[in-house]
């Protein structure tokens, strides 16, 4: 009775928002699997990468730069610290702060993660030709730019 009735596609399957959510889901699964393969997750990569680019920083500064919510920093840094990939030391010049810095182990892990990342991006874009990949990247970048810049827009139309 319900066996073969599922062939016609639901109406929402062609909505841009649905396509984005679904492809993003696949992307995140791919990348997440890659990270998990070396015992990490997204936050860890973002933190390690941010540290590598900007150098040691307080948790608050790190959160701002990596776009990770302050409330989530504690756990993420704890996890990295447990793995010996970052080091948390009190800032002698400001006792509110912990200065977080990359260890050699962290740098090694970052290299692994970047390698994984590259593989997974390839996998993600596999069905697209080089030109199409650039098209996609361009279109998505424009969408992202637009919505990052105009977070609220049209809250109080004109008044």
């Amino acid at each position: 009775m319900d066996d073969r009735a599922d062939e016609n596609p639901p109406s929402w399957r062609s909505l841009p928002s649905w396509l984005l959510s679904q492809t993003a889901g696949h992307a995140q699964r791919l990348v997440g699997d890659g990270f998990a393969a070396v015992g990490a997750r997204g936050y860890h990569y973002r933190l390690l990468a941010t540290l590598a680019e900007h150098g040691p920083a307080s948790q608050a500064a790190l959160g701002r730069r990596s776009g990770i919510h302050l409330s989530d920093m504690v756990a993420a840094i704890n996890e990295l610290a447990e793995r010996g990939q970052v080091q948390r030391a009190p800032d002698p010049s400001d006792r509110r702060r912990n200065i977080v810095s990359l260890t050699a182990e962290g740098r090694r892990q970052l290299r692994l993660l970047e390698k994984e990342l590259a593989v997974r991006q390839e996998e993600l874009l596999a069905p697209l030709a080089p030109g199409e990949r650039e098209q996609l990247i361009g279109l998505l970048s424009r969408l992202l730019d637009h919505h990052d810049r105009q977070p609220g827009a049209a809250e109080e139309p004109w008044r």
Copy 2:
């Protein structure tokens, strides 16, 4: 010290997977806000739409068709039933089953949700010209097709 140091973009900001996740995030926020404006969320819309397309069904069939995990159906249907948008009645011909069906109120709600959805899609794609929107939809559809069809691929390369 940390004031103006955040201008250079993190390396991962141009990764396809990141672009997808972020744009999908914006999309989901937009659509989610639209749904919330009429007291619903994504699951509710998907269930109502599925019911409208395929007619009454058991929870299990509904879950398969809407792609919602069985474990999440109970709560979602409870919520819809509380709002009087669906009706849950035991199937007389199979006492394991609850037959879920749309009420007039549910149909009304679905129309509201669809209107919201259309508005939000527009908002989402605002920065793109019509031709570009089709390009994006085409590219995303191909990615989605590929990854839906090849869930695992390359698990045991060739033994």
